[in-house]
Amino acid sequence: MSSREEMLARIRAATADLNGQPEVARRYRPAARGPGTADEALVGLFEERASDYRATVRRSTAGEVARVIADAVAARGAGRIGVPGGFPAEWSALLTDAVLDDPPLDVAALDGLDGVVTTCAVAIAETGTIVLDTGPGQGSRAFTLVPDYHLAVVRTGQIVAAVPDAVAALDPARPLTWISGPSATSDIELSRVEGVHGPRTLDIVIVTD
C-alpha cells in the first residue's frame, strides 16, 4: 500500500467514531461592505490604520495623482522607479526616471531599481492592509518585493471594511500578497524593527474616485 493509501486508511480508522459533524455556526460579523461602498469614515479608518504601521499615507484627487506620486518619490530620494504594465500612464507621467516593467524585468534589474509604483486589488480599512493579485498595474510578486521602496495607489472604491469583505472580493486562484505596512521583525527581544527583507519603506496614495 502506498503512503497515500495508508494515511487515508489511518484517517478513516481514526475518525470512525465521528459522524454528523454540526454545521459551522458563523455568528461573527459577516462580509458587509465590499468594494464600491466606502464612505469618508471608512476611508479615514483605512488611512489611520495604514499609518499605524508607519506606512506614509497621502490623499489625492483624481486629477492630482501624478503630482502626488512624483512628490512622494522625490521625498524618499528615489530616482529609478519601476512602473508595471497596466499602470495608468497619466499617474506615472511626472516620474523623471521611470523604468517600464513590460516585459517583466529580471531579478537583477529589479535589484537595480530604487523603488516601484503599483495599484492594488483591494484594501482593508480595519486592518490597514492592501492586497495585490498581480493584476494590471501591479506587476509580478517579485516586482513589489526586491526593490527597497513601494508606493501603492489605492482608489477609494477599492477600500472594504474588514477581512471578510476582502476575502469575498479576492480570487483564490491568483497569487496574492497581503501587505500591512513595511516589512518588520520583533525577533530580538520582541522589540519591533521596521524594514527587514521586503521594501523597507511603504507609501500609500489614496485617490478619491
Partner: protein, 496 residues
C-alpha cells in the same frame, strides 16, 4: 505506545522528544537567571499587546467558536479534504506527495532537491520541517539549508535550538545575538552594535545575496484551502516572500491538519492568527498561491508523523486544531520560567505538552502532561478554544495507563491510589486517616513547610514543598465550632 494501533512519530529523527526529564531540564533552566530575565521581559510585553489586539475585536468569541468548529469539521472529514486539496493543487500544476512520517518526508524533500542539481536551499521558518529534522537530513545528504527568518537564523548560527513557536530566539538578548553574529557571520560589520535595528540590518545584508540567487526554497504552510488548492504563508519580515517568490522550485512541507475546507474560512483565521500571535491587526505580509504560479515548480508534501495517532484519541484530537500562534506559551506561568528548551520538543509550552506526547506516544514524553499547573490561562487565550487543561488531565491518565501496561506489579502511584480508595470508602477509616495525618506536623517544624517526605513518598516532594498539616482537621473543627449550630439551623445555616 501507539494509540489504537496508529504509528507515532518515529524515534531517532526530528525533534519531538524530551532528552532529559522535564523536572531536570526545568531545574537547569531555572538556574539561568539571564534566561529568566529574557523570557520574563519578552512574554510580559507580548501578553499585554495581545490582550489589546484582541479587545479591539467585538466578535472575538464568535470568531473563536467558528475557528474551533471549522477545524473540527476538517478533522472529522480529513480524508475527503486532503483528496480535494490534492486534486486542486494537481489541477493547477503542482505535485502532491504523501509522507507517512519524518523519515519519508525527509527522503522526499532530499530527492526533490537532488533532482534540481542544487546543493543549497533557502528556508522559510516552518515548524513542520523543524519537527522532522529536515535540516539535519539535508546536511547528511550534502545539501546546505539556510534559515532566513531572523530568529531562526540566530538559532542556526548559534548552533542552538528554537525555544518558542513564534520567536524561536526569545531566550537570547541583544548582547548575545550580537556576539553570535560577530562570531558566525563573516560579513557582519566589525563595529556592530547591539541595537535591534543594527542587528536586523546585518541579517538583511547577509541574506540578500542568497535570496537573489537561490534556486530552491522550502517552506511550511499556515493554511491550505481544500476547495481551491490555495496555500497561505503568514509572516513579517519578507523572507517568506523572498523564498516563496524568487526561487524556481518551491517545496512546501505541511502537516495534514493545516487544511481549511473553503476559501471563505480564511475570513476567520486571518483575524484569529495575527492578533493571537504577533498581537497585530494584521501581520505585515501574507502570501497565497494555488499550484504552480509565475513559472515555478511547486511540490506539496503532506505530513502525517503521528497526526493520525493524535486524531484517533477522541479526547486528544482537538490538539490538531492548533494554528501555532503561541499565545498559550506567552501566558503560561511554567513556560515563562522554564523557557522552551526544557520541553525537549519543537512544540513547547502548553500546546507542546499536549501535542508532543500524542505525536510520539505518551511513553516517549511521559513528563510533559505533568509540566503544568492546570491554571487554565492557555485555554482562555487559545484562538481555536483547545481545552488544554482538560487534555492534560486526560493525557496524565494515559501516561499512568501506559506505565501500568508496561510495569510488572503496581507502580507506587497506583498502590497509593488504591490505598486511598480503600480509606475513603469508609467514613471511620477516613476520619482516622485524617487524624493520623497529624503526625506530619512533626516533619514541618523548622520551616512551616515539609520539604522532604521520607521513604517512597520522597518523589512527591522532590519538586515541590508540602504544607505542614494543621493542628486540627476540618472535620474536628466543624464538629467543635459549627457542627451544633449547623444542625440547629437546619438547611438555612449558611450565613457566610
Amino acid at each position: 505506545m501507539t494509540f489504537l494501533g496508529m504509528p507515532t512519530a518515529p524515534r531517532g529523527v526530528g525533534q519531538l522528544r524530551q532528552e532529559a526529564p522535564f523536572p531536570v531540564a526545568a531545574a537547569r533552566a531555572l538556574d539561568d537567571s539571564q534566561l529568566r530575565r529574557n523570557l520574563g521581559h519578552a512574554t510580559s510585553t507580548i501578553r499585554a499587546k495581545r490582550a489589546a489586539a484582541v479587545a479591539e475585536v467585538p466578535d472575538w468569541q464568535e470568531l473563536r467558536a467558528a475557528g474551533a468548529a471549522i477545524k473540527d469539521e476538517v478533522l472529522a472529514h480529513l480524508d475527503r479534504y486532503l483528496l480535494q486539496l490534492e486534486e486542486q493543487v494537481t489541477a493547477r500544476g503542482g505535485t502532491v506527495h504523501w509522507a507517512g512520517d519524518a523519515n519519508e518526508a525527509n527522503r522526499i524533500v532530499t530527492g526533490l532537491i537532488r533532482a534540481t542539481g542544487q546543493r543549497h536551499v533557502v528556508k522559510v521558518k516552518s515548524m513542520a520541517t523543524q519537527e522532522i529534522g529536515l535540516n539535519e537530513a539535508l546536511a547528511a545528504a550534502g545539501i546546505e539549508a539556510t534559515e532566513t527568518d531572523l530568529a531562526e537564523l540566530i538559532v542556526q548560527l548559534g548552533h542552538d535550538r528554537p525555544s518558542h513557536i513564534l520567536v524561536p530566539a526569545i531566550h537570547r538578548n541583544r548582547n548575545q545575538i550580537r556576539d553570535i553574529f560577530l562570531r558566525e557571520m563573516p560579513d557582519a560589520p566589525a563595529q556592530l552594535s547591539d541595537e535591534p535595528a543594527a542587528l536586523t540590518a546585518a541579517a538583511r545584508a547577509h541574506l540578500r545575496r542568497k535570496f537573489l540567487t537561490a534556486q530552491v526554497a522550502i517552506s511550511g504552510a499556515n493554511f491550505a484551502i481544500a476547495e481551491t488548492g490555495t496555500l497561505a504563508v503568514v509572516e513579517s519580515e519578507g523572507n517568506g516572500r523572498m523564498c516563496l517568490t524568487l526561487p524556481r522550485t518551491l517545496i512546501t512541507v505541511m502537516g495534514i491538519e493545516k487544511i481549511l475546507p473553503a476559501w471563505r474560512d480564511l475570513e476567520v483565521f486571518l483575524q484569529l492568527l495575527p492578533r493571537s500571535s504577533t498581537a497585530e491587526r494584521m501581520n505585515p505580509y501574507t502570501s497565497m498561491w494555488a499550484g504552480a504560479v509565475e513559472g515555478q515548480d511547486f511540490h506539496l508534501v503532506l505530513l502525517d508523523n503521528g497526526r493520525t495517532a493524535t486524531l484517533a484519541d477522541p479526547r486528544g484530537r482537538a490538539a490538531l486544531r492548533c494554528i501555532r500562534c503561541s499565545a498559550c506559551l506567552n501566558v503560561c506561568p511554567v513556560y515563562e520560567r522554564t523557557g522552551g528548551h526544557a520541553y525537549g520538543s519543537v512544540y513547547p509550552g502548553p500546546i507542546g505538552a499536549v501535542l508532543s506526547p500524542q505525536l510520539t506516544g505518551v511513553a516517549d514524553n511521559p513528563d510533559l502532561p505533568f509540566a503544568s499547573t492546570l491554571c487554565g490561562a492557555c485555554y482562555d487565550v487559545c484562538p481555536v478554544a483547545i481545552d488544554i487543561p482538560a487534555m492534560l488531565v486526560h493525557l496524565r491518565s494515559r501516561v499512568v495507563d501506559d506505565k501500568l501496561a508496561h510495569h510488572h506489579g503496581p507502580t507506587p502511584e497506583a498502590a497509593a491510589m488504591r490505598t486511598l480508595a480503600w480509606t475513603m470508602s469508609d467514613s471511620r477509616r477516613w476520619a482516622w486517616a485524617l487524624r493520623a495525618g497529624h503526625a506530619g506536623r512533626l516533619l514541618g517544624r523548622r520551616y512551616g513547610r515539609i520539604r522532604h517526605l521520607p521513604g517512597p513518598l520522597a518523589a512527591w516532594t522532590s519538586s515541590r514543598d508540602l504544607p505542614r498539616p494543621p493542628r486540627q482537621t476540618f472535620r474536628d473543627w466543624w464538629k467543635g465550632s459549627r457542627g451544633e449550630r449547623s444542625r440547629a439551623g437546619g438547611e438555612h445555616g449558611d450565613t457566610a
